[in-house]
Structure formats: C-alpha cells, structure tokens
Symmetry: C5
Subunit: 304 residues, 5 copies
C-alpha cells in the first residue's frame, strides 16, 4: 500500500509512485505513434482514409465507460472486502487473547494457543502470496517440531486451526473449560476459519475471465480506431487527445486488474499483509505480557 501525506493539487499532478502510468506507458506511446501516423496520412493524402464522424465513438465510448466502471466497482469491492477480512483477522486475534484471559485458561495452554493465532496470519499471508516466505516468521513463534509439521501440510493455515482446536479440546477433556467456554472459543475459531475462507475465495476466484477479455478488447480496439474519428476534427491534436482517452481507459482497465488481485505485490496498490501480520504479533505479545515487536514502517512510501 502507498502511504502518502494528503498532497496538494499540484503534487498530485506529477506523482509517479502508485500511479498506473508506468504500466500503461508502452501502450500509450504505441498509440501516440500510431495516431501521429494517421494524422500524417490524412494531412498528406498518402492514401485515402475512411472518414467518419465521432458520433458512433460517443455511443461506443459511453457503453465502454459504463462497462469499465462496473468492472472497476466490482474490483474495488474485492479489494475492500480483502481489507475488511484482514481487519477481522486483527480483531479476532485480539479477541482470542481476551477470551482466553476471561476464561482463566492456564498459561500452559494459552501461550501456545496465542502463538498459533499469530502464526495463522503468517500462514494466511504465505498462502495469498505464494512467492513470499513466512517460514522464518512462523518458526520464531512456534517450536521447531510444530513448525516443520505445519509447513509440510498442504494448507498450513488450516493445520494451525486444527492444532488450536486440539489445545482447546484437551482443556475440555481436563475439565478446565466447560461446554459454554468451548462454544465461546469455537465461535472465535470459526471466525478465523471464516476469514480464511473469504481470503481464499478472493485469491482463487478472480472475476469471470470473460469480463477481462470483453473490457480489454473493446478498450484496445476503441482506442486504435479513435484517431480515424478524431483526425478530421482535431488534426494535429489527435495524438494528444487519443492518448488522453487511452490514459483513462487503459488506466482504469489496469487499475481494475490490480485491485482484482488485492494481495499480490505487483503494482503498488496491494494490501499491506506483512504489516498486518506484525500488528497481530504485537497483539499476541501484549496479551501475553511480552515485549511487543515494533510495527512495520513503509519503505519508499510502500507498506508491504
């Protein structure tokens, strides 16, 4: 995530970091060259160009705007839902810390339970960003045996939840928790599992692929036809105008794609998963009365 102070209106015009400009620049340059070519042909009549009015472009442009708008909306909803789910992770981690205290759970069971809760976030982060490595973070929280067992399982986050359930079941068996207490802890575990299910849904079910195709194709065909419609009208301003429209459409297209995958670190608008994992480590340490680690800080305005 980009961390910026709220900037003045001039600064906003020239910021590059966080912008989608770098990602659509090649296409924009290509388009600028192409439409300059069109203008050249039109001007020097190298050969006859089909000439037609802008009205069909207006019609198609509105349909395209609506569709890109819809896709953008849906992608933003996914991104925001991802953020909400991580927010729930933060507060369920604290809730487990509190509930185990309220239930007077002995430290011998509570400490491993909470450490596993902190490890759960790291395992979640690993599963959402396959090229990151949560191994060391998990190893620093759990003993070596548990770590290696968990890291070998197909779905470590799931294995951690099973491990946590085992601890609670043990306490129940030892009659140190009654059925009501078990129910209460089960609800918090179910909440964690619900967050996991939600995050896996977002990561594994992108928007229907046909949306991406329809948006992408129409946007490109549209922008490469536009100079034909503009040239009789705007002449040498055609490349400039075409590029501006392309900035809007390609930019929205690219941004929607980035937000559709809210976890991957590509682009700069991803969610700060590692920083939130750290927040959870802090919550667990504070609940156990240990010295908490420091929060993660943004590096070059980016919180990873």
């Amino acid at each position: 995530m980009i961390i910026h102070k709220r900037a003045g209106f001039l600064t906003l015009l020239f910021t590059v970091r966080g912008s989608v400009v770098p990602r659509v620049l090649p296409q924009m340059i290509l388009l600028a060259l192409f439409s300059s070519g069109i203008v050249f042909i039109y001007q020097y009549h190298t050969f006859e160009l089909p000439e037609f009015s802008l009205t069909p472009f207006t019609l198609l442009g509105i349909a395209l705007s609506l569709f890109l708008g819809f896709r953008n909306n849906a992608a933003y909803d996914r991104w925001w839902e991802g953020r909400k789910l991580w927010g729930s992770l933060v507060y369920e981690t604290r809730a487990i810390g509190r509930a185990t205290e309220l239930l007077l759970m002995p430290d011998s069971a509570r400490r491993p339970l909470l450490k596993l809760t902190a490890a759960f976030s790291h395992a979640m982060c690993q599963s959402l960003r396959p090229d990151s490595d949560s191994g060391p973070a998990i190893a620093s929280l759990l003993d070596a045996k548990t770590t290696s067992k968990l890291m070998q399982s197909a779905n470590p986050a799931d294995a951690i939840l099973r491990e946590m359930a085992r601890i609670v079941a043990k306490e129940h068996e030892l009659k140190r928790l009654d059925t009501i207490a078990v129910n209460m802890l089960d609800q918090h575990l179910t909440a964690l599992a619900g967050v996991q299910a939600g995050l896996e849904r977002l990561a594994n079910t992108p928007m229907p692929f046909a949306f991406t195709l329809l948006a992408h194709r129409t946007a490109y065909i549209y922008c490469f036809l536009l100079p034909l419609g503009l040239v009789g009208n705007a002449l040498w301003l055609t490349p400039f105008f075409t590029t501006l429209v392309a900035y809007c459409f390609f930019g929205l297209d690219t941004l929607s794609e980035e937000l559709e995958y809210p976890f991957t670190k590509e682009g700069a608008n991803h969610l700060p998963l590692e920083a939130m994992c750290r927040v959870n480590e802090i919550s667990v340490a504070e609940a156990l009365g240990e010295k908490p680690p420091v929060p993660l800080q943004p590096v070059k305005h980016i919180l990873s």
Copy 2:
C-alpha cells in the same frame, strides 16, 4: 471456471477460451452480412433507403447500455453470491470437523457425521447440475444402505441433514452431549441448511424473465437498425463498426445469461463445484486423520 495465469495485453486480445466470442459469433456474422448488404444497397442505389442521423441511436444506445449494465451487475451478484455460499460450505464443513472434536464426540458418532457432511456437498452439486452424477462419490463415502436410502429421497441434500440430526439427537439421548453442545451443533447444521436454501434459491429463481426478453430484444433490434444510421456516415466501415457494437452488446447479454446460472457447466465461467466438493472431502479426511484425496486439477484451463 477458467484458470489462467495473468496474461499480457497482447495475449488477452487473442484468447478464445473463456471468451463469449464463440457463442455470439453466428449472430455477429449474420449481422456483418446484413450490414454489408445495406452498404451495397446504399452505394449502388438499388432502391431508396430511409436515411436518418445517428442521434436517435445514441439516445437508445445509452438507455440500452444502462439496462445491459444493470442486468450484468445483477447477474454478477448472483454468480458471486453462489461462490460465497460454496465458500461457506467449505468452511462449515471444517467447522463441523472442529466442533465435534472440541465436544469430544466419540468416533462412532463423529465418523458417520463427518462422512455425511462430505456427502452433503456432493448431493448439493447433483441438485445444482441435474445432468451430473454424484452417486459414485456419495457411495464411496457412506455405506450402501444409507446411500441407497438417501439417493431415493426427493431431496438427497435435505435427507442427509436429517440423517445428521438423527446422529446428534442420539448422542443427546445417550447424554453424551448436553443442551449447549446440541445448540452448538444445531447452529452448524442450520448454517448448512442456510447454504442449501441460498443455492436452491439461485438455481430455481432466475432473474425475472421479462428482463431477459427486454434486454435481448432491444439489443437485437438495435443492432439490426444500426447499419441504417451508420451507412451514410461510415460507408464501407459500417459492417466493421456494427459488428464491434454487436460484440459489446451481444457479448454482455450472453455473459449476463451465463452468470445468471452460475452452476451449469455450459459456457466456461461456471463455478468449480466439483473441485470444491473435493476440498470438502479433503477437510473431512484430515479431520478424521485419514489420508486425504488429491485436489482436483484444471483440465485444459477449466476447473469443473
């Protein structure tokens, strides 16, 4: 569901799988021929064509875009709700595995309960895709007698839930579960039933039929009138432009229809029900300490 790596912008332009192009191609070709005919008549004055400006088309085009946009939005919401409900199924399956462990349920009752939970997904899948056959999958989970009893009932998913309730009631009768434990398990069963109700609602209540009619008819009449408006303007580019507009409108129309029925395997944007059933089998096997089956893999980019 289509499983694709995130593709570059050129690849996206030429992908066919997952696209709606194949499904609207016949209509697009028909329209291209029709509008070529219009151009021919216009050019060679075979007979007098009504000529009119594009402005009424802009107006109607915007109304149509808005309406197709609304329908697309509603259809996508249905698709996404279907996915959410299956996500709940995944995590409620795990929750039942966990809750029965926390409540120290004896294996003699827990094992059949969890097997039934896994069978529930298959029964759900069968009911949403009437031409698939979940019989073998269910038979591999349950004993022959239970299977045949369940498969004969009108609504197997429902019969499975009743069977599960019977097991819990038995344990209650034997005083191995207290009222609180029964309440806790009832909540998980009710959650399964809620998922079932939601999925049946999506499968049995399509969007009001009049929407489909209004969208479909207006889109077709519009596209077949469009050449009359374009021909004076775009001449030989008319067929090209008309086909592009038709790609947008028919494509959106067809895509909305596919998403409206998120479970049927027609088209390639359906939800991967069978893969999710397998996930549930894995969860149940892991909860019982059995060797889990392998996850389903996409076949030719399609996860069924």
Copy 3:
C-alpha cells in the same frame, strides 16, 4: 413465476408470456398512431410544426434512463429480498423440524408445533395475497377449533406464532425443556417473526409514490414529444423509432412496477408463494415421518 427452459436467441425474440409487451401494447399503439399523425402533418404541411433538433431529447433521455434505471434497480432489490425472505421461511421451517428432534421434544408437543409451522407459510401467503384463500390449506393442517380461532384473529400469522410460543412455554413449565433449549427455539421463532416483518414491510411500504409519478410522467411526456424531434430526421421511420423507445421506457416502467409488488399475481413475474408453501408442507411431513404431498407444478409455464 415463469418457468422456461433457457431459450435460443430466436425464440427469445418472439415469446409473449412473461413479457411486458401485452401490458404496454395499448399505449404503444396509441403512440404509433400519434406519431404517424405527426409525420402526416409534417409531410403535407397541414399546418406549421415546431421543429427542433434531437439534442434536447438526448439530454432528457439520458436523465430519464438513469432515473428509470435507478427505479428498476430498487424494484428488483425488493423482489429479490422477497425471494430471500421466502427462502428463509423454507429453511427455518426445516430448522424447527430439526431443532425439535435434537431437543428430544415429545411427539405430543412436536407434532402440533410443526403443523403450525407449515400453517404459518399459508397464513403469510394469505396476508400477502388478500384475494387468495388459505383457509382450506390451514384447515387440513390443524384441528377445526384452532383453525377457526386463528382465522378470526386480525393477523393469523402472528396468532400462529403466539400459539407456537404457548406450546414451547408449556414444555418449559413441564421441565421438559431447559432454558437453553427454550432460548434455541426462541431464536427460530424470532427468525420466523423476522421473515414476517420483512414480508409485511415489502407488502405495505411500496416505494415512495413520488418516484412512480416522476418516472411515469416524464416517460409519457417524453415519448409523446419525441416524434416532434424525430420527424425532420427519420420521416416515415418516426413511428417505428418512437415505438421502439416507448417499448424500452414504458416496458421498464411497467416491469419496475410489477417487481415493486413481488407477491401479487398480476403480471407473470411474481414469486411462486403457493409452491413454496407446498415445499414447507413437504418438509414438515418428512420431519414427522408422514407421507409428503407432491410439489406444485407450473401450469402453462407459470408457477403460482
């Protein structure tokens, strides 16, 4: 509700059932005659017509499209909420069947409780469709005395819930249910009451009347002015074009109105309340181990 197989693109063009065409046909014919008159006057200069460009119509047309779109959206939400509430009714009915089994409730109390649950749907249906008669259906479920008492009360659905509460309270008094069990059943009764409140809200609180007025009036004035703007442009195609626009706008207007009242049987896009009542009767019969009645079938594609 209309039950259709998914139809091909040609069939969709000519289906009448479920379409709003029959309901807006008179206005469309009137408009076609009116605009033919305008064309005639324009052509033969019977008298001078005010002539003006289409641009103001575009502007107003877009505003109108947006507004009709909003209203359509809100009406569809109401329709879909109605369907969701009936879905909850279906699954709460099953949940009460299951909960009473789990709580080992004796048949003497469970049977009347479940029969009342099935009767609840019928009472709900009666209250949403005042001109239907649920009396016989309720009488077939309950004994004569209870039936006549319930049917005389101002709000039979409410009276049924009170009757159900009485049975549970009795069991509590007899110490056959503990406080936890009572709480559990109370939650299911509260869920039924919540469904009732939601359905009554939809039935008794239509959208603000001013919406209907604003949409209706603007659509009509717009369509009757449109020929004046089109005639100079489209000449003899004016009636055709005007009628097409009117089909869109009046159609959307009428459809929104139908969906705004999702229960009344007028139009063909209503929810199949009677079929869902039958589903509940089946659930109750199955929970009691009785022979269930057969599901309702659509009559001429319509499920009532």
Copy 4:
C-alpha cells in the same frame, strides 16, 4: 405515507397528492417566465444574446444527472433503512412479548415490561418528530409516576430501556430468571437499543451538507442557463422544454431532500411512524390478553 390503490396510467399522469409538483411549482413558473423573456429578446432582438450550441449542456446535463441520481439513491437508502429499523421495532416488540412468555415470567413483572416496550415506540416517535406529542400515548400505557419521570429525562427512549433493564435485573436478583434467561432478554433489549441508535443516526446525521449545496446550485444554474442554449433551436417551445427539464431536476432534488429526512411530516413521503406505534400497542395488548386498539387508518390517503 401515501396509501394509493395501484393506479392506471392515465390517473398517474394527473395525481397531485404525493407528487413533488406543488413544492417545485414556484420555481418552475419563475423559470417559465424567465425563458419566455429570453425567447422574446431573441425573437425581437431587443439586444444581442450570447448564442451557443447545446453540446456543453449535454455534457453538464449528464454529469448533473449522474450526481442527482447518486444523491437520490443515497437518500432512498436512508428512507428504506428507516423503514427497516421501524420494522425491527415491530418485530422486537413481539419478540419481547414471546420471550417473556417462554421464560414463564410472572405477570407482575411481565406486564410493566411489555407496557414499557409499547411506550418505547412512542418515545422514539417523539424524538424523531420533535413537534409531535407522545405524552398522552405514553401516559395511557404507564402509571403517572413513571410517565412523569420518563418525560423529564433528556432522552425518554433511553430512560425506558433503563427502566426495562431494572425490571429484568430485579427478577434476576429474585432468582426467577437464570443467567441464560437474562442473556436472552438482554439480546432483545440490545436489539431495541440498536434500533434506537440507527434511528437517531438517520435523524441527526443528514447527508454531507456540501452534497445538497452542489446538487442544488448546479441544478439551478443549469436550468436558468438552458434557455440560452435552447432558444436558437426550439424557439417558442423553449419555455416548455426548459420547464420539463426543471421538473425532472428540481423534482429529483426536492424528492431526495424529502427522503433524506424520512421521519418529518413535511411532504407526503414520510414513514407512518404513528401507525407503527399503534401496531406495537396492538402486539403488546395481544401478548397480555387485553383487548387491542384498532389499527390507524389513512386520512385523505395519508397514513401519519
């Protein structure tokens, strides 16, 4: 709230009650005069008018439509949320009647508890409509001492909830309710408090004032500039067209403002709070076995 039978299409064109026409009529007349003046000046060249095409108006008109549409959407959501909250009030009132019966609460505690529940709606209504007087209604439900104590407190609704809590706490102290029963009643009281918080939020936090300003100003400037753009085009039809556009824009603006404040009786699209208070009185009377009062009837189509 307006209570209308569903009207035919002609009736809808001429209804005044519930319409926003009366509230925007002065501005519409002013605008009609103003644009007639413009037409006069234009026709007789009293002095030179700036002349410009309609295109900039189309652009601005679309932006304005979108913005008014957004505001209308948000205002309707507030109105509908208000209605939902009152629906919850209706069903929580019934739920408290049922829960206290299920818990076998003695009449000496139950009666005052339920009477306070009915009084709660009246206090809520009073707080949402400061110029109404719920005093008599509350006095008819409670004894004189309690009434005067409640009416003197800063927030009577809140004081009633505290009074109700006191009764439940007393029963708990007397061991007539166990912790589970207390929890169950607390949940219903919390639900009432949640409704109160929601209603106070709607009443005290209007939409950001800058929205109203931006919508209102742009709409007015737009409509008073429009004749300048239309006059060259529509001539003597200009006043008519301008007034039609103004009807749309001012009408939507005014309607949004009415819906933004869903409780005040100004305008005719408010929610029928008094009728719903009466519904709650009926529920309480029925739960206590008393003769219920009659439901409120609409006066001149308006349910207050």
Copy 5:
C-alpha cells in the same frame, strides 16, 4: 459536521459554510483567467489556435463523470460506515451499562468498567485525530495511575479493552460471574473491538492512491483543455461555462477527498466525534446514577 436548519432554495444558493467552494476557488480563478486568455487569443488571432469540436469532450466528460461518480460513491460509503461505527460505539456503551446491571455486578467492579468504556471513545477519537488531545478527558474519568499507564501504551484504545477484560476476568475468578455471564460481556467487548478495527481500517486504509491520481489528473487536464473546445462555440461565455464545469468536477473531486477521511477536522463535513464522546460520557453517568454532563453544542454551525 455542519448543523443547519433545512434551508429554502434561495438560501441554499448563497451559503458558504460547508460548501467546497472556498477550497476550489483558487483553481477556479486560475481556470477563469486561463480561459479568458484563450478567448482573447481566439478573438484577436494573436496566433492560430487548434480548433476542434466539442464531441470528444462530451465523450471524455461522460467517462470522467462516471469515474468521479464512482469515487464519490465509494467515499460517501466510507463516511457513512464511519458514522455507523460511531453509532455502534454509542449503543455498545449503553449495552455495557445495561448488561452489567442485569448481571448484578457489584459497584466496585462496575464503576471502573463503565468509566473505562467512556474513556474508550476518547482514546478512539485521539487515535483518529492525532492532533487532538484526549488526555484531559480520559484523566477526568480514570484515576491518575491508570491514565498515565494507558496514555503511554502504543494503542491506548486497545490497552483500555485489555484493562476492561482484566476486571471481568477478576470477577470470574471470584465466582461472581459464571461462564455465561462472561460470554455475554465478552460479546460486548468484542463488539467494541470490532468498532475499533473498523475505525482503524477507515483511518489507515484510504482508497487506492491511483484512484485519486486518475480522477484528479483527468479532471484538471480536461478542464484546462475545455476552453479550446468551447471557444468557437460560446465565445465570451467560455470562461463562465468552463468555470461552471470546473465547479462540478473539482467540487466533486474535493468533496470525495474530504469524505474519504471522515474523521479529520479539515473541511467541514467531518463526523462529530467529540460530540459523540460526550454522548457516551452521558450514558455512562446515567447508568451509574451520576449527574450527566451537558451535550456538546455546535459552534458557528459546526459540531466538532
């Protein structure tokens, strides 16, 4: 927040407070000067201007309107969610007052618990408005030692929740609360933590920075190009028209930015956090039978 009586239509045209006009005035003046310059150049042919029709502007203007509309919608949703979360804070504060009474908690534990609840709002407010100082407010509620301990912790709101949990755990240890009561209080504490997580999410995760960039840049480039398109059409009215469009676009852009950060006091459309903290102090005082402080009043129409 601005507190206004509902104003008449004339007043609305000239109000400054709460309007975004002051914040976009410099840019509007700059733009007015710039477009006057364009008109001058065009009129006196100082040098040749590129001349082009308005059609491309219409197209781009619609795309921009849709995008600004989307952003505005999302920003308003954040603002309204912030308000809802504070509403929950108000009613959870009251709920804790009620629950502790219902559970007959002794005053020695209840008083500090409730005082901490009131302090929680202030700590929350401090964390959302870093430049405000909640120290004195918290100090007046708690004893000096607790205050200084809390204010030193990294996240005082979190520390307060831990402190509250400690009190409840103590009562549980002393057997003055059973597991059910602990569960009930835990739910209210979890609700407070949920509000905290939601508020921190809104404060720390602004909308993707690329949205702000895309909206801002396109709006500015658009408005500074617009005079080129208008000048041939509107001549000396160009500056006026351009400025009106800019008022719409820049105004919406700025308003969205204000609503995106619903807590900071910049601008006048922020939420009245301090007033709501006071409401919570009043609730706590009333629950404890102490004399409540007076509600905060707006200063110059602004409630801070």
